[in-house]
Subunit: 646 residues, 2 copies
């Protein structure tokens, strides 16, 4: 028997760098093609973070050269603030060194691991040092450092250092040698850069591929987004150990200042309230808190009316860019329906605030038989790998999509259908499943939020499909009364040599609806809409018609005179008065619409029984409950099913 | 503009413990139910490793109590060697402390992270210390230590320490308080323990669940597997940086002793050969190796005839336990076909040896419409989470299963069909995607090996299905000639008052085959097989019949006297001489068969044209190529398709 003493002799500690040296795959470096993508991604994400923090419009240049076989040279250069001399060895040569561990604000990098991982992979596979060239505004010269990582010590091993003169005012250039494999397609450097460029439209990224071809992703706006503000942990979702840890390390000297100073949304008043509830001395030293105190504080946080977290610390993608992101992957497919992107309210997991945004397109030439495509983003970084381990995929797979018109075997798994869905999770701390930051962990709070966003999108798709179905059925009738009936009447009359009979009673009997449809004409970013309202009932109808339009689109120009523009609610209102078998033509124009994204308007009617209307919904809250019973009953049923799901 | 100096002020280093404190999800603690499973898993895996290393038959007791709401108490106690006093704080209180970083032998734990992760999660969610009680054989007393992790310093913070007297000779007990949620089902503590018990059949595991119910997974063998031996990295798949790192840290003083001492399968002779090829001085100090030298050494490794890696450092599950593992999840489904488990030869990724084992069952009452179930194991540990990120799932999804009789949309993704597949990857270093060890990274070499194993299994399924089809067609004929024809003949003869006509010529004309089938009778672990050979041809036939039987099954008892047992090839041979329309009955018995797993024998014939035989295959290499052309041509085509896949 091997004895405990002997076993003990084998025990030893290793550095985090040695751990990663033996576990490159945890950092995402598990195949040649993926390793190249990771190297570009970590470098470019860092450049974007640095520029954003320094409020500089990013200009990033990526050059990739094949040196024969599977050896590559990679350089990434930016116009960011640069890094001061003494920080360079630590930032590139030390794992778990960084600026964002405790900052609680949305950033691409969070861990102090990514770029050191590239350095490590580079030195393992090429045996060559990396070169960092940095120029800050404050310094007259640039520093050029060649270095390895000393993995045993988890620190930089500097090979050489030079002072050089460069023309640019500030910026950083990193050069690596590494093994790799350059590929194109769904999981590729170009795909990563393209999707990055979309959600960072103020960045200019130039990429020279190994063939020497240059691809430029130009900026489309000069507006740098408002940098997210730092925040404190929100008490929601914190554990007793977190409270004790914070109390142990705080600089605050009293319990009240600790509570109001270390937590988000805890005012001084609330802090005092909590002291009263827990019967703790407001002036006590927080580091003296005992386990039971911390438990009581947690409990009273729950009973206090805390404001929900604010989203100041976050920087969402926004509706426009979500649509654009979807459009980018569409290729020549022309979806017939763009769901209105959903942006959920800020939510909390374990004290960290997060927001879920999602968009979806449907139909057109998108492949009907294939699985729905899922585009994943976390803190504005596209996620290309480990889809199967991601909370986003999990949320999609857990929903029963069949009731929304999708094919899905036994109501679980990724559904099939002509659709693409995009989900972005923005957080002060995205809970990645590993240091390679490829998938979001299946944190229940996050999955729930994603599901709620998806459900909203899926409902829009269902409404669209239902409308389409109703319209298809009525179109047959429409064709009959508009085209066939008059011809039959005319011919019959001619043959019988009698006057053409009055068709109105027949038409109105067959149709018995007010028919509303529209034509959309697009030129550049302008959309002209022509609305036709036809009264196929036997009586004159008087009602109000509303067009509900996309938020923030300026309504301009040739809107008909007999209407009101309500720019606050982004809608147009018409007073319609229309005789039996009469037709009215209405027009309006939208501007600043992304080409190809505006597919149809939503219309509401008020003051008319909605069962007589095709092409518009009853204005919510308008029609009395009796008439809408059937619709509502049906919808409630669905609603319940859906609530069961969560 | 924020300047570089200001940004630099935010930079700081954190400890690995602080990193994990902020990233519990990386350690697998991302939901309440999963956290409880992780805690049990890490503790039990450690106990199994310790017992195995000390060559002790493991007895492990797990107790889980619900303390109200979502608070739990967990204790895990084993009869292992225990841990000596001074190692306890490091093993439980320090991340990246362990015995297996450099050992290169198969083990469940590898990282020096898992158990500290449980301690960290416990203290965050309960605020309470853990209790470790350890008794080693060498010490008269047991030590009981209560401790936290000081995350800032990544070291233990001891709360109290006691010396106590215990009755057992050696063993370890760990006690935790933590938040959790106890569930049953596919991803549960019971599921993990059950599957662990199957692949570790020499362990006894007792589990007391929160209701107080006791579940015992008793040992089924007293044989401890041969402990895997330590090995060195195999030169295959190493990078130039690895060579340089090894050379820098080696204790060897000359290049030849370095090469033969630090690498697996590099003899002194090969080391000298490599020095000659690279024109390096055999006596040189290896730490003086330059980049170009390391590159040349790598190159000459490739040109040298190195032996493939040995599997001494590995401990596979084995055919028997794979079958048992599959049987365990079968419930009341009775699959109609058990594929013979596949054990691949040792292979290499990045210097680490690994083996892929796989098994599969098919048909019976297994659900036809659902996705094929995949059971994953890594170093004898069942993997319950992150299936979507795992190389095993990837390999299954990448194969086109349609040609093997499965349903699979567009030939990719997890196929649907009545089957369960089990895959085990054993390695001196399993490349997990994260520290939570839930999924194997998609390392190309590993995926290829899994695919080859799966292909072998899938082919067995295809053969089974083809046989079934042929038999079904012939069964109709068989029924006709055996049942219907004699009756018709008899009745016709009676009516016509004539003698019953001779049916032989008609029967042989219709059938024209030698029909071989069997009955299987099972009692306990013994299987009695009765083989019927019926000659439905017009002529006497003489040929050899072989039964190809499972490896290592003792053949005993009532085997017919006119046969030979070839225990080396695990087969029985009969000399058959059978007249037209005669039937022969043969019998044999197998022992040590796991109940329910033996479904049918494989028969081969020699000395007869196989087109006349139903129920047996031609002995490979026996029949001349012309007669088998069709079969082979068809198979080759498939083969090529399959090779394209890899």
């Amino acid at each position: 028997m091997v004895i405990a003493e002997e076993l003990a002799k084998k025990q030893r500690a290793i550095s985090i760098a040695q751990f990663f040296e033996k576990n490159k795959q945890i950092l995402g470096f598990d195949s040649l093609q993926k390793s190249l993508i990771m190297a570009v991604k970590e470098s470019v994400d860092n450049s974007l973070d640095a520029c954003e923090e320094a409020e500089i419009l990013p200009e990033i240049e990526v050059v990739l050269k094949n040196l024969g076989k599977d050896e590559y040279y990679l350089s990434v250069e930016d116009n960011g603030p640069g890094i001061i001399r003494k920080e360079i060895p630590k930032i590139f040569g030390q794992f778990l060194y960084g600026s964002k561990f405790f900052s609680m604000q949305q950033a691409r990098g969070q861990q102090g691991i990514g770029i050191s991982a590239v350095v490590l992979y580079s030195q393992i596979t090429s045996g060559k040092p990396i070169t960092v060239t940095s120029k800050t505004k404050e310094s007259d010269v640039a520093y050029q450092i060649k270095m390895f990582i000393d993995t045993k010590e988890n620190r930089a091993a500097i090979v050489s250092e030079d002072v050089i003169i460069v023309s640019k005012e500030h910026g950083l250039k990193i050069e690596f040698y590494m093994k790799g494999k350059y590929v194109k397609g769904k999981q590729s450097i170009i795909e990563y850069l393209k999707n990055s460029a979309i959600v960072n439209p103020y960045a200019k990224i130039k990429f020279t591929d190994p063939d020497g071809s240059v691809i430029i992703f130009d900026r489309v706006t000069d507006k740098i987004p408002v940098p997210p503000k730092e925040t404190k942990p929100h008490p929601m979702g914190l554990e007793v150990g977190d409270i004790l840890e914070l109390a142990k390390n705080t600089k605050h000297k009293t319990l009240t200042s600790f509570l109001s100073g270390e937590f988000s949304k805890v005012s001084n008043k609330i802090a005092v309230e909590i002291c009263t509830m827990t019967k703790l001395d407001p002036g006590m030293d927080p580091s003296a808190l005992k386990l039971v105190d911390a438990k009581n504080i947690l409990e009273s946080f729950k009973q206090t009316k805390l404001l929900p977290p604010s989203s100041e610390s976050l920087s969402p993608i926004g509706e426009n860019l979500i649509k654009k992101g979807l459009k980018n992957v569409l290729g020549s497919y022309k979806p017939s329906f763009y769901a209105i992107p959903v942006s959920r309210k800020p939510a909390i997991y374990h004290g960290n605030v997060f927001i879920v945004e999602a968009g979806m397109v449907y139909g057109g030439d998108l492949p009907k038989e294939e699985q729905v495509s899922i585009m994943r983003f976390a803190n504005k970084v596209p996620l290309l790998y480990q889809a199967g381990a991601c909370a986003i995929t999990k949320a999609v797979s857990d929903m029963d999509w069949r009731k929304y018109g999708f094919e899905q075997k036994s109501g679980a798994g990724i559904p099939s259908g002509p659709a693409i869905v995009l989900v972005h999770v923005a957080s002060t701390k995205v809970p990645f499943t590993s240091e390679s930051k490829e998938a979001i962990a299946e944190v229940p709070e996050i999955i729930d939020e994603i599901k709620l966003a998806l459900r909203d999108l899926a409902r829009q798709i269902r409404t669209f499909l239902t409308k389409k179905e109703i319209k298809a059925k009525l179109s047959e009738k429409f064709f009959l009364v508009q085209e066939i009936l008059p011809q039959i009447a005319l011919k019959s009359a001619n043959i019988l040599n009698k006057p053409v009979p009055k068709l109105e009673p027949i038409i109105t009997q067959i149709m018995n609806v007010v028919w509303i449809d529209e034509d959309i004409e697009e030129s550049k970013d302008t959309v002209k809409v022509t609305v036709r309202v036809s009264n196929f009932t036997a009586e004159e109808k008087k009602f109000k018609l509303y067009a509900d339009l996309p938020e923030g689109k300026v309504l301009e120009g040739s809107v008909d005179s007999d209407c009101k523009i309500d720019s606050e609610n982004d809608s147009i209102e018409w007073e319609i008065s229309i005789k039996s078998l009469e037709q009215k033509v209405l027009k309006f124009t939208l501007s600043n619409v992304i080409s190809g994204t505006y597919k149809e308007s939503t219309y509401y009617v008020e003051g008319i029984n909605p069962v007589y209307v095709v092409g518009a919904e009853p204005l919510p809250g308008d029609w009395n409950i009796e008439d809408l019973k059937a619709i509502i009953a049906d919808d409630n049923e669905m609603e319940e099913d859906e609530n069961d799901e969560l």
